[in-house]
């Protein structure tokens, strides 16, 4: 029976294949000409509240699931580490979470959180620290008590501090085990050299940190006016604001923290080389870039997309991976922060093609400053950014946190509403201008981590070499 049914089909196939093998008029519509229904969406707006002590709160109700999310952002990160105590921000965040509070030990907190399947995390980045809470609605009250105590009344238990230090030191001992991790870490040091953001923790600096350092750091940065909190989920707005009043009212304001000075402009373009045995080199070429608040951040976002962050069709990926087949990971990234921005381009390639790839990477970057991007490229990049914008609103947690971050970074409240319009308004001249201004050959910071002996061309043919050691 199967044969009977298949036979005519096979005959047909035999007849059609040589004639038709993909050459007949395609039955499928041209994907470029598909028509889509309009997309309308008005994202919910979180409510903004300022408590009496100056703490700002964003609240967004969402009854879909019986859960509550709380996200806090604090102006305190490794950029604020005192000299010689690098690693302090990170350790403070770590031990706030593990070291207990005035009413519970760290172990009791762990036990309660894990038994109720709730989670609290505290961590420190470069310019900011954050604290997050996820909890089932039924446990919100008691877990929120812990969350607020961790922020206001942490106890930096000595034993937990020693453990945190030991774990960090072990982590630092292992930095060079994976060459890419080593490369991106060293790149921060050289890109931000002379700025606190370029001072990273070492085994020695972590070893020096004591309990009173953590207490001091907490006291200096964890302040009502230096923190913002977003709450979303299955809560009643009024009730939750009351709850915050109750828990945080006694937290006194002791002023505001001023951001650390942005990294200074570069006046040279050294090539740093770090020796590491292995089959591949990690190549990073970076520049300081527009801060988030700058009008330049819009054309620069498009520039970055076209040059290397816009997926397979972006220039670096297209050239170094698709055309040349010389890297699996390659592209660029741009992040506009408060007071400064950072752009990096990278490729990981076998030692024997290091010179070829570095030369091509530099050429792509310089070309962006000398020739306008194509009209088609710009349209593609704008459409991509404008069309994917909707994903910034894909959960209420994201919406509330995002609105909080806008205020935290001092951006105008209509930042999101005007974002797409400002992207659309960018033209090819704007992109050329920012490329010429920020991706200047004489301000590039270049780092190559690999084994020079196997390179296809000596690095010295690219410029002045500064050999560095990772320790």
């Amino acid at each position: 029976m199967i044969m009977k049914r298949l036979l005519p089909a096979l005959l047909m196939a035999a007849l059609l294949t040589p004639l038709c093998d993909g050459l007949c008029a395609p039955p499928l519509p041209d994907p470029q000409r598909l028509k889509y229904p309009p997309l309308t969406f008005t994202p919910p707006e979180p409510e903004r509240v300022e408590l009496e002590n100056g703490m700002v709160l964003y609240v967004l109700e969402d009854r879909e699931l019986p859960v509550v999310h709380v996200s806090a952002v604090i102006r305190a990160g490794s950029a604020y580490d005192p000299e010689g105590r690098e690693g302090l921000a990170e350790l403070t965040a770590h031990v706030m979470r593990t070291g207990g509070t005035r009413s519970m030990t760290g172990d009791e907190i762990d036990d309660l959180l894990e038994f109720t399947a709730a989670s609290i995390s505290v961590s420190a980045g470069t310019d900011t620290a954050s604290a997050d809470l996820f909890v089932l609605k039924k446990d919100f009250d008691r877990v929120f008590q812990i969350f607020s105590d961790i922020l206001i009344h942490p106890v930096f238990d000595e034993r937990k501090l020693e453990l945190a230090k030991g774990l960090k030191i072990e982590d630092l001992r292992r930095v060079a085990d994976v060459p890419q991790r080593l490369a991106f870490r060293e790149f921060r040091k050289v890109l931000y050299s002379g700025n606190p953001r370029g001072r990273l923790s070492t085994i020695e600096s972590v070893g020096r940190i004591q309990k009173d350092d953590l207490e001091g750091f907490h006291k200096r940065f964890f302040l009502p006016r230096n923190i913002m909190i977003a709450v979303s989920g299955d809560v009643d707005g009024k009730e939750v604001i009351e709850k915050f009043r109750r828990h945080f009212a006694g937290w006194h304001d002791a002023g505001r923290v001023h951001p650390v000075l942005p990294p200074g402009e570069k006046h040279s373009s050294p090539i740093y080389y770090l020796h590491k045995e292995g089959p591949q080199s990690t190549i990073i070429v970076g520049f300081l870039a527009p801060e988030k608040k700058s009008p330049d951040s819009y054309p620069f976002t498009l520039l970055d997309f076209i040059v290397g962050s816009g997926g397979f069709r972006s220039r670096i990926f297209q050239e170094i991976r698709s055309n040349m087949g010389l890297a699996y990971s390659t592209g660029s990234y741009y992040e506009g922060r408060e007071g400064y921005g950072v752009f990096g381009s990278y490729a990981i390639t076998k030692s024997e093609t290091t010179g070829t790839v570095l030369a091509r990477l530099r050429q792509i970057l310089q070309d962006a400053g000398h020739r306008k991007v194509l009209e088609g490229e710009l349209t593609w990049a704008k459409n991509a950014i404008v069309n994917s914008f909707i994903f910034s609103f894909s959960s209420t947690d994201l919406i509330a946190t995002q609105q909080m971050m806008i205020e935290f970074h001092g951006l105008p409240p209509d930042y999101l509403r005007t974002y797409r319009g400002r992207i659309k308004a960018v033209n090819r001249d704007d992109v050329l201008r920012v490329a010429g201004q920020y991706l200047r050959d004489d301000r590039a910071t270049t780092l190559v981590v690999g084994n020079e002996q196997n390179f296809d061309r000596p690095l010295s043919t690219f410029g002045d070499i500064h050999k560095i050691d990772w320790k």
Binding site: L28, L39, L136, Q180, S388
Partner: protein, 510 residues
């Protein structure tokens, strides 16, 4: 093979049942969001006539939608000598189709055929190794380069990615596993047709442009993610040691010499054979109308022909009969992996291993974290994983541990064994079991918060177990597990002769 027959015989019944389910769904379940979110009722399951299974879940949080396509194929189906084929195919499916990525397919096809012949001849010569003729290689290489540059002029590079990104896609990616190959993307909800247009086309009409340079890219991928990452290389070694006969012994990315000589012919056969609709599960989760979604899926995927899947002859792993130990010497700090053979889901033991996984390493209060990291300070990190490297066949329960200097891997290993022994001898407390149940319950709720995560889970378990409801029923089995079950499973599988230990040893500087 048995599964396959059963599936086909049952098909008409399944079809009818599913169709009534569809009607029931449309009549009784609106898009309301009750607190008691009943996933089983909210997911619409439908099987097309060509065997393609579609899962649809409405969520109206934002006007976005996530798509997952899972083909029930992976490294498992590769022949020896052709490891890495499933993964290279996954890369090749981003190179376009007969109608996407070309300026003139008729002309392009002629060149691609020439490229294939030349590439085959080149690989053939190279595989002779020492006896290869240098001049022949150079001549073929020159010819290949010439053809490639001609072909380049006729293609529109990376067009699938461009179309997706231009239309606002995020999370665009694909992955290859031992059992399953997956293609996923999230789009603004009004762009569903673009997804259907591209994905159905690349199932039917893939064109392997830039084959040889992409093979080079995969070689770089291997150097980057395995050769330069000692802990991952150690995992490759653990699996190659623990499995002697079953295909799970082979790395998904492939052994270097295999990848270097994978042929277009084999990849094409692999694609035609295994990316069949009757070997595929699709999940659509987000702000969609199920009826319209089904209409679009039928329109684009419904015309793809069913394929007779070749019988899958998988060598069963014979029982291990003695501990196996292996070392990797590398320029890196020590690291330790321990693997025990065990049955896979949906056997009861597999659920017990899920529970032990949580008891041992989930969170700061888990046994191994508390003892090894906090109390004794001999580990920097400790983790376990149930079900490596795949879930379709019996797999491993793995323990991954990082010793904290100056403590050694040996010291850490002994401490781990001591804790494992306790699972065999002392009943786990009720509170510990209750904690695990609470955690799994909360996971279920937490997972509901993401279109992408839901689409991933629904399609994965549908592809592996044949029923996405594994996700919701998992918790019921977990709730039934008693401390005696844990002792029994631990005693059965956590025995030295069932164990493989892999250690990363630092290379001594000369």
């Amino acid at each position: 093979m048995n599964d396959l027959n059963l599936h086909q015989e049952q098909k008409p019944l399944v079809f009818t049942l599913l169709f009534s389910l569809l009607l029931a769904f449309l009549c009784f379940f609106g898009p309301s969001h009750s607190l008691a979110y009943d996933l089983e009722k909210k997911v619409l399951k439908y099987e097309l006539e060509n065997g393609l299974v579609v899962l649809i879940l409405e969520r109206h949080i934002s006007p976005t939608v996530s798509f997952y396509i899972r083909h029930r194929v992976g490294a498992l189906q590769e022949g020896d000598g052709s490891t890495g084929a499933a993964h290279l195919l996954e890369h090749m499916l981003f190179k376009g189709t007969k109608t996407i990525g070309t300026k003139n397919y008729r002309q392009e096809k002629r060149l691609l055929d020439e490229i294939r012949k030349t590439g085959n001849a080149l690989d053939h010569e190279r595989l002779k190794g020492e006896q290869a003729d240098r001049d022949t290689i150079d001549r073929l290489l020159g010819k290949l380069r010439h053809l490639q540059s001609q072909a380049k002029a006729l293609m529109v590079d990376n067009e699938i990615d461009r179309l997706y990104t231009e239309n606002g896609a995020v999370d665009l990616n694909a992955s290859t596993g031992q059992d399953v190959t997956s293609y996923h993307v999230s789009l603004p909800a009004n762009k569903m047709e673009l997804w259907a247009r591209i994905e159905s086309d690349r199932m039917m009409n893939p064109v392997f442009r830039e084959f040889y340079s992409e093979r080079d890219v995969v070689m770089e991928e291997r150097k980057q993610t395995i050769e330069s990452a000692p802990q991952r290389k150690l995992m490759e070694l653990l699996l190659a040691t623990a499995f002697k006969a079953h295909p799970y012994r082979r790395p998904i990315i492939g052994w270097p010499s295999d990848v270097q000589s994978l042929s277009m012919d084999y990849i094409e056969w692999f694609s035609r054979t295994y990316h069949a609709p009757n070997n595929t599960v699709i999940a659509v989760v987000g702000d969609v109308d199920p009826v319209k979604t089904l209409g679009i899926v039928k329109k684009y995927f419904g015309t793809i022909s069913r394929v007779n899947l070749p019988p899958l002859q998988i060598t069963a792993e014979p029982p291990q009969q003695g501990e196996q130990r292996v070392e990797l010497v590398a320029d890196a700090n020590p690291y330790l992996l321990i693997g025990y053979h065990k049955p896979t889901l949906p056997s009861f033991d597999d659920y017990v291993f899920d529970v032990m996984d949580a008891i041992l390493t989930r969170g700061r209060t888990s046994r191994l974290y508390r003892i090894l990291v906090e109390e004794r300070g001999i580990a920097e990190s400790i983790d376990t994983a149930n079900g490596l490297p795949g879930s379709k066949y019996p797999n491993l329960f793995a323990i991954m541990a990082t010793p904290r200097h100056p403590h050694t891997a040996e010291e850490l290993e002994a401490a781990i064994h001591a804790e494992i022994e306790k699972l065999k001898k002392e009943p786990v407390s009720l509170r510990e079991l209750e904690k695990v149940v609470n955690q799994f319950r909360a996971d279920l709720i937490r997972d509901l918060d993401s279109n992408n995560g839901l689409a991933s889970k629904l399609s994965y378990y549908e592809a592996i177990t044949g029923d996405f409801r594994y996700i919701t029923r998992h918790i019921q089995v977990v709730e039934s597990i008693k401390s005696a079950d844990i002792m029994k499973t631990a005693r059965t599988y956590f025995v030295p002769e069932n164990r493989t230990v892999a250690t990363l040893v630092r290379r001594e500087k000369p």
